[in-house]
């Protein structure tokens, strides 16, 4: 009995040590070391909402060119903002990279970002894709537009987002649920274009057409391909990814609203955090990302459109031709986000 007890105690102690080790070792580099060593070596710390797997090669190249090391943590946008708020002036983060203009607007609104005066950024980034007060900057464009099944729909039948509310699209649509910020921003753009009442009418029209709600753009395209619906609304790069793998997919892209305000464009963007300790390095990183080299890596890896008009898009998406872009400043999507969410709830949009 005594040995057993001793063995058990040893085992428990060992497990406790290992666990404690595992748990603390991991936390350290993320927080304390990052701050302490930062100044000497040239480090920049990034909180990124852009997905795992898309950022590492970009940061590696930046380090090769500038010698500045990039450390990063991934999280969802809402989480990152909450984190920045909680950490206040003790935050290790110098740069926040967000995947939707609405998120950048909210971060700026909550005082989490600081203004940056940079000629490079002003030159490289068109004015409607950056904050009027220079607290955040767009880096790539993602176009949320229509895709259709080539065997069931001819492109002449398609025109606008608004047209999808027409009863002839009943049981033929695939849409993303309202929990996704992409959907919220699209509806915000409708509010900006038409006012709240008209926008609600349009969204109600969509809902009355009994769409399939699928919480994944990839799956929406696959369902369109399989004939589960005829038309879907997705980010363009998901289609590019699938076509890159399988060019025979019977799904093509359609640029919406070309006869009026233009297609809905959102951004991946970045800002320097208010309490950044490595401000210079942070600005350098964002400038580099907006340069030819940075844009190439940052945009092409995911088939996004470069924000810098001087930089050519990836050949696959370049082949889709030129299109007219809704000229609204993307900051509006943030300002109208809460309204858009409530509007969709009222309209019964899932």
């Amino acid at each position: 009995m005594k040995e057993m007890r001793r063995a058990l105690a040893v085992l428990a102690g060992f497990l406790l040590l290992v666990t404690a080790g595992c748990l603390t070792v991991e936390q350290k580099p993320a927080e304390e070391e990052g701050v302490a060593e930062a100044r000497e070596k040239g480090v920049v710390y990034v909180y990124s909402a852009r997905h795992y797997g898309q950022m590492e090669p970009v940061f590696e190249e930046f380090m090769k060119e500038t010698g500045i090391e990039v450390r990063f943590t991934f999280g969802k946008d809402a989480e990152i903002r909450e984190r920045l708020k909680a950490e206040g002036r003790f935050t290790p983060a110098d740069v926040y990279i967000a995947v939707d203009a609405g998120n950048l607007w909210l971060a700026a609104q909550e005082g989490l970002l600081q203004p940056v005066e940079s000629e490079v950024l002003e030159r490289n980034i068109p004015a409607n894709f950056r904050d009027p007060e220079n607290r955040w900057f767009g880096l790539t464009m993602r176009v949320r537009t229509l895709v259709y099944n080539t065997e069931r729909v001819s492109p002449e039948e398609l025109s606008t987002y608004e047209d999808l509310a027409d009863p002839r699209w009943k049981d033929r649509l695939c849409l993303r649920p309202s929990t996704k910020v992409y959907t919220q921003s699209l509806v915000s753009s409708l509010i900006a274009a038409h006012g709240e009442d008209k926008a609600e009418e349009i969204v109600r029209g969509w809902v009355e057409n009994n769409p399939r709600f699928i919480d994944s753009d990839t799956r929406i395209i696959e369902t369109v391909a399989a004939g589960g619906c005829d038309v879907g609304v997705v980010m363009h790069y998901y289609l590019a990814r699938l076509l890159d793998r399988n060019p025979d997919l019977p799904v093509r892209i359609f640029w919406a609203n070309q006869e009026d305000r233009g297609v809905h464009v959102n951004i991946v963007g970045a800002g320097v955090t208010r309490y950044a300790k490595n401000r210079d390095e942070a600005v350098k990183l964002i400038e580099w990302l907006s340069s030819e080299k940075g844009q190439r890596l940052f945009a092409d890896g995911n088939f996004e459109y470069p924000i810098n008009p001087e930089v050519e898009p990836h050949p696959l998406v370049k082949g889709w031709g030129e299109f007219r872009i809704d000229p609204i400043n993307v900051a509006e999507y943030g300002r109208l986000q809460a309204k858009a969410i409530h509007l969709m709830e009222r309209a019964g949009y899932r």
């Binding site: 428990a12 497990l15 666990t19 809402a78 989480e79 984190r83 909680a86 649920p177």
Partner: protein
């Protein structure tokens, strides 16, 4: 009478574990109409869906669980000896894992629906719906009912069965008129467990566009960081859980059915009837366990060429999940041992009541425990920071909110019950004369716990630790709400990858979770169903 540390410890543990639940309860007591209004038309939808889900999953697992239990308890048919045991296996598959596999294989673009359209010309019903959610959850949760009902059926006395035969009852009549009523308490307990799991799930219902209260909590917190609204929803969710518990108590009632000479004679099912029984068992087993495991394995193998989850990433997720699960298991077992030991030595009636209360965490859905703990932890952080700033002139920052420590605390709140009941049942077999002797020889109560009770209850303690370990491995809502920033675990990863339709990337982590889940199932099987 217990004095000193031994007298206070149970009270302390009780407070620690009950605080988050009490905080959520306080929200119910003082509802904020304004917050409810801000939730708009979502609120009635969530309430309706939660109720429908409870009824649907309850009915589904009742039908599956009771029919399978009756088949294997009352009849012999080809393979019945194996089915008896294997039918518990689906318990190892968390609802969100089966949900993700079904979303990928049974939705319109999935292989099964495509095959059905092309080969048979039929369109399968939409999986992204309330029906889909009910089907998926019933398939993995029925084993709770199955295990309990079987235990009940096996205790039926030969005499009652003989009476049925004399009355000329058919098998079905025997089940409905005699076996089921006599096993009511057991079946009710199984159903209660099923419903609690259904209330906790938020991922499957999110996959299938069927927002329930749990989904709503994650929606308003994770999406909008609105803790106030999340707390209100948690309060409502808690009411549902309490309703389930009280219905179960009522069903169980004071009735106690004593049966002597258990062990009914099994009837042979031959020919087509035997084949039909075997086919039924096989289909359930296939849909609920073989299909997901095979599909996950297939995906994981496909993944090896171009992994969307690198090996490095996987190992990091694994080490995090394992560390969290081990840490939580140790903490739970430690507290449970102290609590159970001290209470067995004596302790007032009030203390026993409190012990009962402090173990109610398991009945509280994960999302509610998560936001409750979050609220407690952030109050603690604020208090500590202002205290230290006032006295020592520095602020340590957030020590509990969004840290591993806080996460383990919340796991303890939720899973202490499991450890406690395992330890307690093991300790209650120790003859009081042994502990009494130790006490009269001058041992202090805590000494008795560490030197006598704990060593003698090692099997119970080990079982408790394993159960907590596995539950933490697959836990999702609490982890999502309280995890440190950027701290992904296996379960979180599965959810995120599946939500992005990256089936392959989620496969290996999901398979790992299922594998861990097989451990307690094997344990149940070894103890003899």
């Amino acid at each position: 009478m217990l004095r000193g540390a031994a007298g206070i410890l149970p009270l302390f543990i009780f407070l620690l574990v009950a605080l988050p639940v009490l905080k959520v309860l306080a929200e119910v007591a003082v509802p904020s109409l304004e917050t409810w209004r801000s939730l708009g038309p979502l609120l009635p939808l969530m309430l309706r869906n939660t109720l429908l889900l409870l009824l649907g999953v309850g009915a589904g697992s009742f039908l599956l669980g009771v029919s399978l239990a009756w088949l294997t308890a009352a009849y012999r048919f080809p393979g019945s000896r194996y089915f008896e045991v294997l039918l518990i296996l689906p318990l190892a598959v968390p609802t969100y894992v089966l949900g993700y596999v079904y979303m990928a294989t049974f939705d319109y673009a999935g292989p099964f629906s495509t095959a059905a359209r092309q080969l048979l010309g039929i369109t399968l019903p939409e999986i992204r719906s309330g029906y889909g959610a009910v089907a998926v959850m019933s398939l993995v949760l029925y084993p709770y009912v199955y295990v309990m009902a079987r235990a009940g059926f096996r205790q039926l006395s030969r005499a009652s069965m003989d009476v049925c035969r004399v009355m000329g009852y058919t098998g079905l009549e025997t089940l409905i008129k005699v076996a089921l009523p006599l096993s009511r308490p057991a079946v009710a307990a199984g159903m209660a467990l099923v419903m609690m799991e259904a209330l906790t799930d938020f991922a499957t219902v999110r996959f299938f566009n069927f927002p329930t209260l749990s989904e709503g909590i994650i929606r308003v917190w994770y999406g909008r960081m609105n803790l106030q609204a999340a707390m209100e929803l948690a309060g409502l969710l808690l009411l549902f859980a309490l309703a389930v518990v009280s219905v179960e108590h009522r069903l169980r009632g004071r009735a106690q059915y004593f049966q002597t000479g258990g062990g009914m004679e099994k009837k042979h099912l031959r020919g087509t009837r035997g084949a039909a029984a075997a086919f039924f068992c096989t289909s359930v087993l296939f849909l609920a366990f073989l299909l997901p495991v095979l599909q996950l394995t297939l995906w994981a193998l496909e993944e090896t060429s171009a992994p969307s989850t690198s090996l490095e990433m996987y190992l990091q997720l694994l080490s995090r999940s394992l560390s969290l699960a081990v840490a939580a298991a140790l903490v739970c077992v430690l507290l449970a041992t102290v609590l159970a030991g001290v209470l067995q030595l004596g302790g007032s009636r009030i203390m026993r009541r409190l012990a009962g209360l402090s173990t109610m965490g398991y009945a509280v859905p994960g999302a509610a425990v998560g936001v409750g703990a979050l609220s407690v932890l952030s109050s603690f952080d604020r208090w500590l920071n202002s205290l230290l700033e006032g006295t020592l002139g520095f602020t340590p920052g957030l020590l509990a909110t969004g840290t591993v420590l806080g996460l383990i605390y919340a796991y303890t709140v939720k899973f202490m019950t499991i450890a406690y009941s395992a330890v307690d049942s093991s300790m209650s077999r120790i003859t009081p004369s042994i502990t009494g002797a130790a006490r009269s020889l001058g041992a202090r109560p805590l000494e008795v716990v560490t030197r006598i009770q704990a060593p003698m209850a090692v099997p119970g303690i080990a079982a408790g630790a394993v159960l907590v370990f596995v539950d933490v491995m697959k836990e999702l809502p609490i982890t999502l709400i309280l995890r440190p920033f950027g701290y992904d675990t296996l379960a979180v990863w599965v959810w995120q990858m599946a939500a992005e339709s990256m089936w392959g990337g989620a496969a290996l982590p999901a398979l790992t979770i299922v594998l861990a889940g097989v451990i307690p199932v094997a344990y149940i099987i070894r103890r003899g169903v």
